[in-house]
């Protein structure tokens, strides 16, 4: 029970991290119609740049400077490459970002090597944020930080890492900031107007291509920020882009292309789906056996039915994708049909 609560929180923090990526991707997509295939690449870049800065100047500056650097890189890419192929249509734009994603992977391996780098959380984020303590007689209490060993000797302790709490806090703060920026500031209003009526906005004297460049850079900066905290929480290695990239696209399709709310709900859903089933070590054959069909694990479909839920956890997001596409092809919160 306590462990289940911790698992749920783990899933939520994974989902919120996904949302930090999905938000930038969705913003870029709904504005420019461009699916940024290299978004996960910028995430990885953020993690590596963040690690390099953290080695020199500490984690705090890294948290600010690395997203800025990644954002500038993204804006530069938009200015020099993406804008040039705009007239060739969306497929060409997607292909340019695809090419960029392979280049980023290669460059990262070139600069930082092929093995994982030791990107550890700073001392103020090391250890657990709080610990759920279930005493032997059944009472539940919450202890801030790590529970003393003497207490855990005769009670069940479930710690929750501080890094994950930090991920959730940063993601929620970013969500709030993004919402305020889009609805309460002048540039936010211009961005919103440029989403739906780019020509009118241009006629009113705003430089729409520049707004596009800003949005692209900002989306990449968000990915970079996610990279810094994601790289610190998980592993910083060249495979991290590919691991996150395909899940990210599941999030965007399931939520509905171009819908921020959809991206939020879908990220949480996928985050939970990725983590919670990992803890269930039961298979479909076990379930059928409990329902009175003991021979379910044998025969032609035996290998398929004997897979435990923990084993199939990596494919559950993709199954969700297929399911959503069959039932509701535009995605959960999508409004447009192609």
């Amino acid at each position: 029970m306590d462990q289940a609560a911790i698992d749920l929180l783990n899933g939520l923090s994974a989902g919120l991290l996904l949302f930090m990526l999905g938000a930038g991707l969705t913003l870029i997509f709904s504005m420019m119609g461009v699916l940024n295939f290299a978004h996960a690449g910028f995430y990885m870049l953020g993690a590596y740049v963040g690690w390099s800065i953290a080695c020199v100047a500490g984690f705090g500056p890294a948290l600010v400077l690395a997203p800025l650097a990644v954002g500038v890189a993204g804006a530069l890419f938009e200015r020099t490459c993406l804008r040039r192929v705009h007239r060739h249509g969306h497929v060409a734009e997607l292909l340019v970002t695809f090419g960029l994603s392979t280049l980023i992977l290669e460059l990262v391996q070139l600069v930082w090597g092929r093995a994982a780098v030791p990107f550890d959380p700073p001392h103020w984020l090391a250890g657990p944020a709080f610990t759920l303590v279930r005493a032997a007689e059944g009472g539940l209490s919450v202890v801030a930080g790590a529970a003393p060993a003497t207490l855990c000797a005769h009670a069940a302790c479930s710690p929750f890492p501080a890094t994950r709490t930090f991920v959730m806090a940063v993601a929620l703060a970013m969500l709030l900031a993004l919402w305020l920026l889009l609805t309460r500031t002048r540039i936010g209003l211009v961005i919103q107007a440029a989403l739906t009526h780019p020509r009118m906005v241009e006629a009113l004297g705003h430089d729409v291509p520049r707004v596009f460049m800003l949005v692209f850079g900002a989306g990449c900066a968000l990915a970079g920020l996610a990279g810094v905290i994601g790289g610190m929480t998980f592993v910083t290695e060249p495979a991290m882009a590919a691991a996150v990239g395909s899940i990210l696209f599941v999030v965007v399709v399931v939520g509905g292309m171009g819908s921020l709310v959809g991206a939020f709900v879908a990220s949480l859903l996928v985050g939970l789906l990725q983590t919670v089933p990992l803890t269930v070590d039961r298979s479909l054959a076990d379930a059928l056996g409990a329902l009175g069909w003991p021979g379910a694990g044998e025969g032609m479909l035996g290998p398929l039915l004997r897979l435990t839920l923990a084993q199939v956890a990596p494919i559950l997001p993709y199954l969700l994708l297929v399911l959503v596409l069959i039932v509701r092809p535009r995605g959960l919160f999508g409004t447009r049909d192609e």
Partner: protein, 435 residues
């Protein structure tokens, strides 16, 4: 899609279309003559893999070029075709199934068709960007499944087979590589012809219409989804054939054949070859083998070079190599190509200098990164470079800068002349039409 081009106006004789016979005859001659003429083991490897790559790139282009469907999961169909093919081969070896080895690719094709029918139902419901992402998701789904079901996918070691089954038929056992290369050549020719024929059927034309204007296709009474689905099945079938041929060729199929890197390679090389002309993917297939087999032997930096080439190609010539070939043929047909000879020479010389400088620097970085134990000295195209000292870097950077500046100058002049020539040709064509 442009009209079918006569190979050359002078070669059209009725009732035979001599130009077409010549082209397809030469193609067959190359495919079947090459394995017999070049017998070294490297040549045989390249030739047989090129045949397979050509089929798979052409099948990919049925989606991308003909149907406007950008798939990131095409390796699923070639890969699953390969797995089914090797299982059929093993059943045939065990005597449980009577299936001739020369038709093993057909088993792969049927498997590709089956899985494309099944999964295509989901993927082809959407077009454009969403289609691209769904294919990526399906690709990941199958890749993850391959790790979960070792009974079918053979786990880490893959599934092995033996292509020599039973007694020799007319002296053919498929033991020697040259016999397999000839088989691949024959399949490659047949598949190319079948896919070319498909693009000329009303269904193939409808597919082009779905690519260009799906709404209008829906208005004249066809379902764009269904047209995409059928095209997806056809592409899946031919991809499966290629997978089956690969299974016969390597006698082993591992899980990486369904993975995302493989799908990405199909996209990259089909695009480099050219998606706007039917023959583009043939160039792409040959490039794929040269890139992954030869270039990867020459340098560790080959993914970087390929990525850069791809990026430059998307920005400079989105039609791929095939479009460049066609554009220059058009110039030649109007007698304007000769004027570009010097400009092309200037572009090539300055480009080569810039490329040499850039690749010297890239190679030095890779050398420092990967071969530190060997010391700072390295060979680069006959030169000995010291990667740890400044002179090599300064020289390479100077070469890159000089070449780059000269290239930019030549490119601007080329651009002006090129645009002039295109306008002139457009005028000539308009006048001819008016007359």
């Amino acid at each position: 899609m442009s009209e079918p081009r006569p190979a050359s106006p002078g070669f059209r004789f009725r009732p035979w279309n001599l130009g077409r016979w010549l082209v397809w005859g030469t193609y067959a001659l190359v495919l079947l003559g090459a394995p017999l003429a070049f017998t070294s083991s490297l040549a045989q490897t390249l030739i047989s893999q090129a045949g397979i790559a050509i089929i798979v790139c052409l099948s990919y282009n049925l989606l991308l070029g003909e149907g406007g469907m950008l798939s990131f999961g095409h390796a699923v169909y070639s890969g699953l075709g390969g797995f089914v093919a090797i299982h059929v081969l093993n059943l045939a070896s065990a005597g449980a199934l009577h299936w001739p080895v020369s038709l093993i690719p057909l088993a792969g094709g049927l498997a590709g068709l089956f899985f494309a029918t099944l999964l295509g139902f989901v993927t082809t419901r959407r077009a454009g960007t969403t289609f691209a992402m769904i294919t990526l998701g399906i690709g990941e789904l199958v890749w993850s499944m391959s790790l979960m079901l070792p009974e079918f996918f053979g786990g880490e070691g893959g599934v092995t087979g033996d292509r020599v089954v039973g007694k020799a038929v007319l002296g053919v056992t498929f033991g020697p590589q040259v016999q397999v290369s000839l088989l691949i050549g024959a399949w490659c020719w047949a598949c190319t012809a079948a896919m070319f024929a498909f693009t000329r059927t009303p269904l193939g034309r409808l597919l082009n219409a779905v690519r260009d204007n799906p709404e209008r296709v829906a208005f004249i009474g066809f379902s764009p989804q269904r047209v995409r689905w059928i095209a997806f099945m056809v592409a899946g079938f031919f991809a499966g054939v290629a997978g089956g041929l690969a299974a016969l060729n390597f006698e082993i199929v591992t899980a990486e054949v369904v993975g995302a890197p493989r799908s990405g390679a199909f996209l990259l090389f089909t695009f480099l070859g050219g998606t706007s002309a039917f023959f583009g993917p043939i160039i792409g297939g040959v490039l794929m083998v040269l890139g992954t087999v030869v270039l990867s032997q020459l340098t560790k930096a080959w993914p970087l070079y390929l990525g850069l080439a791809f990026l430059v190609m998307v920005m400079a010539a989105p039609g791929g190599i095939a479009s460049l070939v066609l554009a220059n043929l058009r110039l030649a047909a109007h007698g304007r190509l000769r004027a570009f000879g010097r400009l092309y020479a200037a572009l090539a010389a300055s480009g080569a200098a810039a490329l040499a400088g850039a690749s010297a620097m890239i190679e030095m970085v890779y050398h420092l990164e990967l071969n530190q134990a060997l010391g700072p000295m390295m060979r680069f195209g006959g030169l000995a470079l010291d990667a740890s000292h400044a002179p090599a870097w300064v020289g390479a950077a100077a070469l890159l800068a000089a070449g780059g500046i000269l290239f930019e100058v030549a490119r601007r002049r080329f651009r002006v002349r090129w645009d002039e020539a295109q306008v002139d040709i457009g005028r000539v064509l308009a006048r001819r039409e008016a007359a």
